[in-house]
Symmetry: C3
Subunit: 134 residues, 3 copies
Amino acid sequence: MDSTTISFSTGRQRGVVDLTAAAAEYVAGRGDGLLSVFVPHATAGVALFELGAGSDVDVMHAIDELLPRNDDRYRHRHGSPGHGADHVLPAFVAPSITIPVIGGRLALGTWQSIVLVDPNEDNPQRKVRFSFLE
Amino acid sequence: MDSTTISFSTGRQRGVVDLTAAAAEYVAGRGDGLLSVFVPHATAGVALFELGAGSDVDVMHAIDELLPRNDDRYRHRHGSPGHGADHVLPAFVAPSITIPVIGGRLALGTWQSIVLVDPNEDNPQRKVRFSFLE
Amino acid sequence: MDSTTISFSTGRQRGVVDLTAAAAEYVAGRGDGLLSVFVPHATAGVALFELGAGSDVDVMHAIDELLPRNDDRYRHRHGSPGHGADHVLPAFVAPSITIPVIGGRLALGTWQSIVLVDPNEDNPQRKVRFSFLE
């Protein structure tokens, strides 16, 4: 297995980061196998959905409805407001996803992007591990 | 890695499609390894739960409570009513799952089925990619 | 691929079980590869989140808000109260997750634990399958 870790600047704003281009570059020139995209953080997830048509905003909104950011709801309470919610996120939006690679290309559908979901304002840098097994 | 894509008729009704038999057939005769079930669509997911006892209806109902289908809630708005919700679904019900295979058999529990979750009325045909790595 | 099944006593209380130590022991001494953690049950899931700071309680609370335990909501109705909800859980908290292993060590982030999420009171014993592919 080949594996590498890449840092992404996510800034202090809540939201998503498109990992698709970095993942495509990582698998380019390889054969057939599975790409594991793994986020070694406890307050972020990784998902596959369409970017560029508003669904990123819709996903963050749905997360905030599922996990309201008033911290008196949460046992885990420290850091910025909403941090308790951020720690519940990965139970629903897991920090690990596997994507088939065929002939060195991600076998994504036309409208699928690989998206780092990062509701946390406190971490302006995030690491993502790409691993390839053939 | 071996990989293939299979088409499933999901019809114009919202709901689930049982992929278990097709997956079992795909891995039959193989050894030990991991099966990746991957849905290359931006408005569907794949999950493991019990079929035949009503949970399919319960899952769709829970999805509709989490992601109400009144489109004025969503930034992404086109196509049939509820399409905005459909585009958020894969953040919560991912289009990728990995299942161990032992001696050419899916290592599923007694009550687990592999289920394509397809809330989208607009796509009567769906593709699913099976990949096997040993 | 190497694969094994381990039994965990989850008791009759609803809640979580930490699988991290057992997974770390399973991969110790191996090289680089992917660990598949798979729960062959239809009323449990596996997730990666922080333990020891209250998020386990917060996750169970969020699950109960998403899937209320009054059974008249569910088509699937038998066993203890809440069993209908338990059968919907794996659609949102999948029973399968993949974790990279580097040099025989889980490539988890500092605050990530591997957590069996088991809302079901009826099963005091649960099996978990660990599989390692390199």
